[in-house]
């Protein structure tokens, strides 16, 4: 009998992930036994502490790099940059939730560890170089999100959102697993590096690759569902609308970011299959940009509008992913960061305006905001202009970056679709601005602008502007983060 050899494991390379997971596990217990009822905010603060510690743990790992767990996990600067972005997403989402949960009467301590687990899943996806690991990461993220979307129990829409997300998500997971199985059947490995080597050796001749292509297609469908690419986006507006707003904010940037980051690794591992996946993904990207932005045009509910807008933005981000060279990967990271800050800021403003027990999120509540809260209105206008891609905001720089990458990658027509759809998008982003600055208040809206939200909005607005004006430091970091990836 063959001896089972346990390969050497370098835990150092997983430090941020381990910190988040163990912190979350301990936090669950602490929450139950140590944090008194009604003071669950403490759990939230502890969760933020966990994110900060994890981010600091990651600092000395810059430029370390390495593979472990039999080549199933990798640490490189790309993964590290993504880790920081994900920790930022987690931290900001928790801060948004601190006062939101008690205000909506749904405060439960487990919310915060759950967010931490979701972030752990995202980090795992950034580090995974094996389809099984990616699947684990995706499921860790998804399962926690199934719970989080239904967190506003017993609100019906929240239940509905959770149910919808669960059923469709389960299908997507099924596709993923089945795809992995077919890929394994075709080439005998599910490790991305091994796959890349195999594909580089083989000269691809159509007939014997059917299994591999079907498998890759199924995996792609799973990702398209998680990222909400058209036509796999139908769930997005309902789920975002139903779930608690901080969760919607988290999903709009977190899930998309993690899934696209993993997709980039997968695509970079199989450049030989590009003739097959590039047309498919280009079509999806074009459809996503067009349908997402057209869908948002018709919305009067801000949360649904942001949901559709996030669909559209997934299309722009996808442009950076499918070109799959180093420059495009930079564009992807830059766009992800810019979009994260902007979109979390926009959702934070929505939370500040959200009325207790109401499910409206109507545009009307934004009317005349400038007269009542000028700074809040200016911040929201910054976010809207950034999402629309008007200079001098981060969103503009991000669009310039991805469109340049797309054109250089030979996808000039997609860049054209991109700019035209962003001209369409300007219409509905401007509508929010017009409401805030140029119309009278429709009714009394009680603002819940506490310290946490103010911090969130302020941070997001200032960095949106700063990255737009002085993008060089961010670009510098991002350039460095792609040196060692080799894709």
């Amino acid at each position: 009998m063959e001896q089972i050899i346990i390969p050497p494991i370098d835990f150092r390379l997983l430090a941020p992930l381990l910190v988040v997971v163990s912190w979350a596990t301990v936090l669950l217990l602490v929450d139950v036994f140590a944090v008194p009822e009604g003071r669950k905010k403490i759990t939230g603060y502890l969760a933020i502490g966990g994110f900060v510690v994890a981010a600091l743990t990651a600092l000395p790992l810059w430029n370390v790099g390495g593979r472990t767990f039999s080549d199933m996990l990798v640490l490189d600067n790309y993964a590290l940059t993504l880790t920081w972005i994900f920790l930022l997403i987690g931290g900001l989402s928790v801060i948004m939730a601190l006062d939101y949960l008690p205000r909506q009467g749904i405060e439960q301590g487990e919310f915060y560890p759950l967010i931490m687990f979701a972030v752990a899943g995202m980090i795992l996806m950034a580090q995974g170089t094996d389809l099984i690991v990616l699947f684990m990461g995706l499921e860790t993220l998804s399962i926690t999100l199934y719970i989080l979307t239904g967190f506003a129990y017993p609100r019906l829409t929240s239940e509905e959102a959770a149910m919808k997300y669960l059923v469709l998500g389960a299908f997507a997971a099924g596709f993923f697993v089945y795809g992995i199985a077919l890929i394994y059947g075709a080439i005998g490995t599910v490790n991305l590096n091994a796959m890349a080597e195999y594909l580089a050796r083989q000269t691809l001749v159509g007939e014997d690759q059917t299994l591999l292509l079907i498998g890759a297609g199924l995996v792609l469908i799973a990702f398209a569902f998680k990222v909400a690419l058209v036509p796999f986006h139908m769930w997005t507006p309902d789920v975002y609308e139903g779930s608690p707003t901080p969760v919607a904010a988290f999903m709009s940037v977190g899930t998309k970011g993690a899934a696209l980051a993993a997709l980039l690794r997968i695509l970079a591992a199989m450049p030989e299959l590009e003739p097959y996946w590039l047309p498919v993904l280009s079509g999806l990207a074009a459809a996503t940009m067009i349908v997402g932005n057209l869908g948002a045009l018709a919305q009067t509910n801000v949360k649904r509008m942001l949901a559709y807008s996030s669909v559209g933005h997934a299309g722009y981000i996808l442009l950076g992913v499918i070109v799959a060279n180093a420059f495009a990967a930079q564009a992807f990271l830059f766009y992800l960061l810019a979009y994260t800050l902007t979109n979390l800021g926009a959702f934070a403003v929505v939370i500040a305006l959200e009325q207790r027990g109401e499910l409206a999120w109507s545009l009307d509540d934004f009317s005349g905001l400038f007269q009542r809260r000028p700074m809040l209105a200016v911040a929201m206008a910054t976010f809207m202009f950034s999402l629309a891609g008007v200079p001098p905001t981060a969103g503009f720089m991000a669009k310039f970056y991805v469109f340049t990458a797309a054109w250089e990658g030979g996808l000039g027509w997609l860049a054209l679709v991109g700019v035209v759809s962003s001209a369409v998008a300007a219409f509905f982003y401007l509508r929010v601005v017009v409401r805030m600055f140029m119309q009278e208040p429709m009714r009394d809206v009680e603002l819940s602008l506490n310290r946490g939200l103010t911090f969130n909005i302020g941070l997001a607005a200032i960095s949106t502007l700063l990255i737009g004006l002085i993008p060089t430091p961010v670009i510098f970091l991002i350039e460095r983060s792609l040196v060692a990836v080799g894709n």
């Binding site: 202009f385 008007v390 001098p392 469109f403 054109w407 860049a415 300007a426 601005v433 140029m438 119309q439």
Partner: protein, 525 residues
């Protein structure tokens, strides 16, 4: 560095923005104080900018080499996005010199005009006005395509707010239309800029593998003129079209003009003045700077078609202006007509046409800006802009009527005043152009005649005859502030009419460069 050894252009560019920041940042500043701060800031900017024409070398010492880019003066450059080869670089030449001066000159006048017309949150209004001035100056000064685009797009935000918050009854509609029209017109230009970047980088990198790309205007132009960068005919025409669309919407050229009357009618007086005075010039400036310089072959190819659109705009604008009963609408449509002249001059593609177009840009900025102020004066007193509500104002407000007459004559193109010089030069250019011809001039002359018709109709209805409305009987004549704004505007109107050589002299060298660039490449093909 530049001939002064001092970043003078940055100072001119950012002074208004600093003023805006001060207005925003200092809380509880009273209305009167904020007006004074804004005025001081705008005046200071104008005074600083006076350094420019006095130190401008109208015949720069650098020898004109074949394939050299346009000679920029007062240049400054800082790396800004080294990854992309994008820099914060500013420069000034004969094309932009007088446009920058127009912007800085109108700045204090516009601020002054808000004293009587803006009573709601003047602090924010002035801050936006100053921000807008920085953005517009930036468009004229930027020597990097992306920097140019950023300033170009940023002009939208303050202007949209100026119209949408302080405008008339239908302001929200007008603001939205303004933003969406111009934004949609510009996004294709962004794509064209990216295209230039990618094509340029690709071609240069074949010769010089270490080249990492640039959006520096001078570098791209010199590579174009030396043949290092060659665009296929189709690519050149598509890129030309993308740039042209953005500028045509801004100018606005018929049939892209529909946003303009709405924006003008709803905008507050100060907004209208800045819109007609400077903002529209961004379009004509862009055509000269980018369309003619970057895409000579396509310019030649498109010139007759654009000339037709321009002539349609001249006649259509004038005819519609004649039919208006609202004074502001009348002036707005007269803008469409006048801007048609400017485009006609640019696409005559010769020195007369282009210099006439630049001069007419200045003239239109002065006289149409003044006309909007004139309308504003009456509107503040009577709160109506209907022609039929007035009559015989000459008797009630003689000083006002006299100044208005001067401005109306300037706008109608009376010899001796500035408008005549511009229109005459443009028509001379169009007549002698290889791409247009006498037929274009024949139609343009109809536009001049119609201009006289609608302007005198306006003047007759408002100022002549008897005072019919009792409400008009006791209108006070111009206040000192109003008098100051109009008189200050009248000075260059007369001065340019008498001594146009001062302006022409400054721009000659740069215009010759544009035209040489056009013909050199044409000969090379």
């Amino acid at each position: 560095m530049n001939q002064l050894g001092f970043p003078i252009l940055s100072l001119v560019l950012w002074l208004p923005a600093l003023g805006a920041l001060a207005l925003i940042a200092i809380p509880r500043m009273g209305d009167a104080t904020s007006r004074r701060v804004a005025l001081a800031c705008a005046m200071l900017t104008f005074l600083v900018s006076l350094v420019l024409p006095f130190n401008f070398e109208s015949a720069p010492a650098q020898i004109m080499m074949v394939g050299a880019p346009p000679v920029m003066q007062f240049t400054e450059s800082l790396p800004w996005l080294p990854t992309f080869g994008i820099s914060y670089s500013l420069g000034l030449d004969g094309v932009s010199l007088w446009l920058v001066m127009l912007a800085t000159f109108l700045g204090p006048i516009v601020v002054l005009s808000t004293w009587d017309s803006v009573h709601k949150q003047p602090r924010m209004f002035l801050a936006l006005l100053l921000l807008l001035q920085t953005a517009m100056t930036g468009v004229f000064l930027a020597q990097d395509l992306l920097l140019f685009y950023i300033f170009w797009e940023f002009t939208l935000i303050p202007m949209t707010f100026l119209i949408g918050i302080w405008g008339g009854a239908n302001r929200v509609y007008a603001a939205r239309k303004f933003f969406l029209y111009t934004f949609a017109g510009s996004v294709l230009m962004l794509l064209a800029i990216i295209g230039m970047y990618v094509i340029h980088r690709g071609q240069i990198a074949q010769v010089d593998p270490s080249f990492r790309g640039t959006l520096d205007f001078g570098r791209i132009v010199s590579d174009l003129r030396q043949g290092n960068l060659q665009l296929s005919t189709t690519a050149e025409r598509l890129l030309f079209g993308a740039f042209f669309l953005a500028f045509a919407v801004k100018v606005p050229l018929w049939p892209f003009h529909t946003w303009l009357p709405d924006a003008h009618v709803e905008a507050p007086t100060a907004g209208s003045v800045i819109l007609a005075g400077v903002l529209l010039k961004l379009g004509s400036y862009g055509m000269i700077r980018f369309n003619l310089t970057l895409f000579p072959e396509a310019s030649r190819w498109a010139a007759p078609a654009i000339g037709v659109l321009a002539v349609i705009g001249i006649i259509y604008g004038a005819a519609v202006a004649f039919a208006q009963t609202d004074m502001k609408k009348l002036v707005a449509y007269s803008s469409v007509s006048h801007m048609g002249f400017i485009v006609l001059g640019i696409f005559a593609l010769n020195a007369e046409g282009v210099s006439g177009a630049i001069l007419q840009s200045i003239n239109h900025g002065l006289s149409t800006g003044a006309l909007f102020l004139v309308v504003g004066v009456l509107y503040e007193r009577r709160h109506t802009r209907e022609l039929s509500a007035y009559g015989g104002i000459w008797k009630v407000m003689p000083v006002y009527a006299g100044l208005t007459l001067l401005i109306v004559l300037s706008s109608a193109g009376l010899p001796g005043l500035n408008g005549f010089i511009g229109e005459f030069t443009i028509m001379q250019g169009a007549f002698r152009s290889d791409y247009l011809g006498w037929i274009f001039v024949a139609f343009a002359v109809v536009g001049v005649v119609l201009a006289a018709a609608y302007l005198f109709k306006f003047y007759r209805a408002v100022f002549m005859g008897e005072v019919n409305e009792p409400a008009n009987a006791n209108l006070p004549d111009l206040s000192r502030r109003e008098l100051a704004t109009l008189v200050i505007l009248a000075v260059p109107i007369v001065a340019i009419g008498l001594f146009p050589g001062i302006l022409f002299g400054g721009m000659q060298h740069s215009v010759a460069d544009v035209i040489n660039g056009l013909t050199a490449v044409v000969a090379g093909r």
